[in-house]
């Protein structure tokens, strides 16, 4: 009988042992980002709580589409967008390796939490978010 109680105790430990404080409250968000009607080739998107009361979420933009994860709530949206324009040296040495050269195409106003005009309310998983940017935005 005693052994059954040990087993029961083990079961209890197994059930309660993993209540760790993780970011399990995040939801998956997907959508599109374009500038002047053209898809943003590569970049990132961040969702910062308007009252800064949650961790910050976000995702990666590829060919105008993004996939990311964020906590729910009212968010300010930050976007960085680049296009690849050839290659550039990693170091100023003769034997330096090369990397892709990126050129920023999204105005800096979209990448500062106090300036960005973009907001969204996330109240669950979304796959239909759409952000249209203006290259002349200030």
């Amino acid at each position: 009988m005693r052994y059954y109680s040990i087993v029961a105790l083990l079961g209890l430990v197994a059930l309660t042992g993993c209540g760790a404080d993780t970011k399990s409250g995040e939801v998956k968000v997907q959508g599109t980002v374009s500038i002047d009607g053209q898809p943003v080739p590569t970049g990132s998107i961040s969702f910062v709580a308007v009252d800064k009361s949650t961790p910050t979420g976000g995702g990666v933009i590829k060919e105008g589409n993004f996939t990311g994860y964020t906590m729910q709530g009212e968010k300010k949206v930050l976007i960085v967008g680049n296009k690849i324009v050839g290659q550039v040296k990693l170091y100023d040495t003769p034997d330096s390796g090369m990397r892709d050269k990126y050129e920023s195409i999204v105005p800096p106003v979209y990448n500062a939490v106090q300036l960005t005009p973009l907001t969204v309310t996330i109240d669950g998983p979304r796959d239909d978010l759409s952000f249209e940017l203006d290259s002349k935005a200030k």
């Binding site: 083990l10 404080d21 970049g43 964020t70 960085v80 680049n82 040495t93 920023s104």
Partner: protein, 301 residues
């Protein structure tokens, strides 16, 4: 029956042993963070109130900064060598050259114990086929609520940080209190034996010398680096949930979160030398308050 009991006991013990190992690794990681922070204090004693320079970039070198000294491309770690008992490396290093020139690359190929968190990839180095390969490391300095190089918007919102690129800060500037302000934290070495990801390249001013409060610890929002490995940009890869990344061209777009292999959060050393665990569920507001040196915020938890 006896065997069954032994089985039960082993089952009980095994996961606990694994947890104990991680706890031990985390303790060692905590110690490393403490050493870097104490080294910073010894530096500030020697150089009258100045923090080490977070890093110097490659424009107009040598560049004179607020402490009256001039620098070529370098990061904070090299300046702290004498205070972590690496005087021999320090003596070999030539501060009149960039980190990738002269005698300097040889000094950056020594895998010092204190560079690595035992929970991550101890001893990790870059691809030795690369002419400029270096060792990697897990530790990273607090660069506050701004990108690696500040944008105009960053400059307007900046609330101070112990470390910066091209600028030095003073210990006496930490008016939020040294016990309330982060000094160092950790990140995950993204790509050992390669040169396709900047994270871990903490000896390079354009690698991962700093972490920022723009992203909360272990954020789902991507780091923005000069180089990101493909898997970290791919939403279908496991790396996307651990070390998400997006490549950018300019240092004023670069930002990196504190990230770690410890379950649920990161270790952070405060400027008074204490080290604490910060949960990845910390709010954006509290994280900004923890990283700022003179923000005057109340950290509410």
């Amino acid at each position: 029956m006896v065997i069954a009991i032994i089985g039960v006991l082993i089952a009980l013990l095994l996961p606990a042993v694994q947890q104990a190992r991680e706890a031990a690794r985390r303790m060692q990681c905590t110690n490393n963070l403490k050493q870097w922070t104490l080294a910073t204090h010894m530096f500030a004693d020697t150089y009258r109130d100045w923090f080490p320079l977070g890093g110097m970039n490659g424009t107009d070198n040598p560049t004179k900064v607020q402490n009256g000294r001039s620098y070529h491309r370098v990061t904070w770690a090299v300046q702290l060598w004498p205070y972590i008992e690496q005087t021999a490396l320090y003596d070999q290093y030539d501060f009149n050259e960039h980190f990738h020139n002269g005698p300097n690359p040889a000094t950056l190929r020594v895998a010092v114990d204190g560079y690595y968190c035992p929970s991550d990839k101890v001893g990790a180095i870059q691809d030795q086929g690369d002419a400029n390969w270096r060792v990697l490391g897990n530790y990273t300095a607090n660069m506050g609520n701004a990108h690696l190089h500040h944008t105009g918007a960053d400059a307007a919102a900046y609330l101070g940080s112990p470390f910066r690129i091209r600028h030095v800060s003073r210990l006496s500037e930490v008016t939020d209190g040294t016990s309330n302000t982060a000094c160092f934290s950790e990140l995950i070495i993204a790509s050992p034996d390669a040169t396709d990801d900047s994270r871990g390249d903490f000896l390079n001013n354009e690698g991962s010398p700093g972490f920022m409060s723009l992203l909360t610890p272990n954020a789902s929002s991507p780091d923005q680096c000069i180089q990101c490995k493909d898997s970290a940009e791919d939403a279908n890869n496991v790396d996307f949930r651990r070390i998400p990344c997006s490549s950018v061209g300019q240092p004023h777009e670069m930002q990196m979160a504190a990230r770690s292999q410890h379950p649920g959060g990161v270790m952070v050393s405060m400027c008074d030398g204490s080290v604490r665990f910060v949960s990845e569920t910390i709010s954006q507001g509290n994280w900004e308050a923890t990283l700022s040196t003179y923000g005057g915020e109340v950290i509410s938890e």
